[in-house]
């Protein structure tokens, strides 16, 4: 087999895929009669041009880091967890239950408890598909899709019938106590005497997301569990030979994955909405797929890809505000990124491999 240099594999291929995705997005913008350059300008200014824009961009980034890491961890175990949406939604339920159950005196106590609740609920929602995959051979992709819908129905029921405050028409829980509200980055900047990101939702959960990147990196590449997850993901028969239990790895990887997706609720439910609303996840679970694919299933790549999608998300909102381009443009870009970096990977890779082979022959 002919191989490409590592840098071409890790950096060049995704960059070309990304360039293709964005070129086609530009064509789409042209096709609906707008200027791609103008659109880009609006997006950059709106998302990165001010601390206000950054505040939103980083808020979205935080969501996508969690869901991206979730997809990534499962992917290393050879599992395609498409259920981040449902797991994140259940994580929200976990956060809400923890915060509404006890009169928390201070956010510092509430945060770890809510994080545990979020991770536990998210993980629990991934547990059944994981167990069914390992024990009954039910394809985890299909079961996690089904569990997304079941989660949506369950949450709908819980919000309408159980958590809705008396007299409210809104299918949402009561607001969390002010003591549990997480410090925003703007507050932290304010404490340092800086004025940064006033009225933006980015909060302390951003740092939890960064820490999660580091911990996931350690888990996958430095621990025995990570070694076993990667080995199992590459070859199940070999894992069996090495005494690596398929049940254990499938369940653990999916628990970690679901837990990470669930943790997202610390950001959006606890940090931003400060109550549980219907459809709080807003597709972030699915964006995690694009983020993981683009980030080449590496935490650092996930961080960068999440930042890019955070920018797109905030920029897309600005587009809808200032131009006639609907924010669904972001969904199209997201689709194209998944398409080119995921499904059409070989379209970019095969010509590149040929090119490098030709170059090598010339050099030799």
């Amino acid at each position: 087999m002919e191989r490409m240099p590592t840098w071409a594999d890790v950096i060049l291929t995704p960059l070309i895929s990304l360039a293709l995705a964005f070129s086609i997005s530009a064509l789409v913008i042209l096709a609906i009669g707008e200027s791609p350059a103008e659109a880009l300008k609006v997006m950059v200014e709106g998302a990165l041009g001010s601390s206000y824009g950054w505040g939103f961009t980083l808020y979205y980034t935080t969501n996508f880091i969690f869901t991206g890491l979730a997809v990534m961890v499962a992917y290393h175990a050879g599992l395609f967890n498409i259920g981040g949406e449902g797991q994140a939604a259940m994580g929200g339920l976990g956060v809400a239950l923890v915060l509404l159950a006890l009169p928390w005196p201070h956010w510092a106590f509430a945060l770890p408890a809510a994080a545990v609740g979020a991770a536990l609920f998210g993980a629990a929602w991934a547990l059944i598909p994981a167990w069914l995959q390992a024990r009954r051979g039910s394809h985890v992709v299909i079961t996690t899709i089904m569990f997304n819908f079941i989660a949506a129905a369950l949450l709908n029921y819980v919000l309408v019938n159980l958590l809705r405050p008396v007299g409210s028409m809104d299918p949402a829980s009561a607001s969390f106590a002010p003591a549990t509200h997480l410090p925003k980055l703007s507050d932290m900047a304010g404490a340092l005497g800086l004025e940064w990101g006033e009225n933006t939702p980015v909060n302390i959960a951003f740092f939890i997301a960064l820490a999660a990147c580091l911990l996931v990196w350690l888990l996958i590449w430095r621990t025995r569990l990570g070694y076993e997850i990667r080995a199992f993901g590459k070859s199940e028969p070999a894992a069996l030979y090495a005494g690596i239990s398929a049940l254990r790895i499938t369940v653990l990887a999916m628990l970690v994955s679901g837990g990470l997706a669930g943790l997202m609720a610390v950001n959006n439910v606890m940090g931003e909405a400060e109550r549980l609303v219907l459809n709080a996840v807003e597709g972030a679970g699915f964006i995690g797929i694009a983020v993981a694919l683009m980030g080449r299933n590496h935490p650092f790549g996930v961080l960068l890809a999440a930042l890019l999608f955070g920018f797109l998300y905030q920029g897309g909102g600005e587009l809808a505000l200032w131009t006639t381009i609907p924010r669904e443009l972001i969904v199209v870009i997201q689709a194209l990124v998944i398409l080119f970096t995921g499904a059409l990977d070989n379209m970019v890779r095969m010509p590149l491999e040929r090119l490098f082979a030709a170059l090598r022959r010339k050099g030799a």
């Binding site: 969904v331 199209v332 998944i338």
Partner: protein
């Protein structure tokens, strides 16, 4: 519950199951050929949009149907390109197609009609009208059979009858024709087809494109049959219910009819009785809506008969010695 109510619910179930049945059979062709398709939803959505747009512009439901087929077929072609030609991950490709349809329909709809992603309402010849079967009115007074014929069997749009006709047709194609034999073979062991001198690529493209056509009809039915125009995200997870039905039916045409009827019936019951009172317990509509997914998980778990997908499903074919 009286006879008339039962008939109404069954009639509603038939309407609701039609897009499910078409999409389910669509998935059956693709997956029996070894190409997994979780993009049924996206293809249907795209078809609903293109059919409604063209039906509105031309005032013809038929041209709308053609446009719907073209829209879904374009998506199917993309899926084929990714999963057959470039041997990409079929699941990832399906995910991408769902998002692409979801975004593009709104983007284009807003550009063309400026209604926030909707198309204007369709009326007259831009929709498929209900067909009254011969003697429907004459037979109506006959007890039991009369109302069943007049209410339940008669009075649907053409596409409903097309969907039902597709079941025996699909069975016949699958088990009685050369194409069907090869299609089933390529989903089980593509090497057997390849070494027999038949192109795996062409067969799989054929199956994927049939899938596109059927999704196109399903989408056109949604936008120009059951409703009067396209609304953002109007498929509302039907593609996934169809996928669930396909698994439920174990990839067999007659079982697909049964599975989609069951799921259509659940939706009809949930619509009719938002809080179904069974005396001892009240079933919330959310539960009825989630029931198809729950049943599919149970089936997948193999507790009620095992659903074994086509053996070569999901794997791109790579020639080897």
């Amino acid at each position: 519950m009286d006879f008339a109510t039962v008939l109404q619910i069954l009639d509603s179930a038939v309407r609701l199951m039609t897009p499910l049945l078409l999409a389910c059979l669509a998935g059956l062709y693709s997956e029996r050929a070894g190409v997994f398709d979780i993009g049924l939803e996206g293809k249907m959505l795209m078809a609903a949009f293109t059919s409604a747009s063209v039906a509105y512009a031309t005032g013809s439901a038929w041209l709308g149907l053609l446009a719907g087929i073209a829209g879904a077929a374009a998506m199917a072609g993309l899926h084929g390109l990714a999963s057959i030609s470039f041997r990409g991950n079929q699941l990832i490709s399906g995910v991408a197609i769902n998002f692409l349809a979801s975004g593009l329909t709104v983007l284009l709809g807003q550009k063309i009609f400026g209604l926030g992603g909707r198309t204007p309402s369709l009326s007259g010849a831009a929709r498929f009208g209900e067909i009254t079967l011969p003697l429907a009115d004459a037979l109506r007074p006959v007890p039991v059979i009369g109302p069943i014929y007049a209410e339940l069997i008669s009075g649907h749009t053409l596409l409903v009858y097309v969907a039902f006709a597709m079941v025996p047709l699909t069975w016949w194609v699958l088990y009685r024709t050369r194409f069907g034999l090869r299609l089933r073979a390529v989903g089980e062991n593509p090497a057997s087809v390849d070494t027999a001198g038949v192109s795996v690529t062409r067969l799989r493209y054929g199956a994927v494109m049939i899938c596109g056509v059927l999704c196109g009809i399903a989408g056109a039915y949604l936008a120009t049959g059951i409703s009067a125009g396209f609304v953002k995200e109007m498929t509302a997870g039907r593609g996934f219910i169809a996928l669930a039905a396909l698994i439920f039916a174990k990839w067999r045409p007659w079982s697909a009819l049964f599975a989609t009827f069951l799921f259509g019936l659940m939706e009809a019951v949930a619509n009719r009785f938002p809080d179904l009172d069974l005396g001892f317990v009240t079933v919330p509509s959310m539960f009825m809506n989630a029931l198809p997914y729950i049943l599919t998980v149970i089936i997948l778990a193999g507790f009620v008969g095992r659903a074994i997908p086509p053996r070569a499903g999901g794997e791109p074919y790579v020639k080897e010695r």
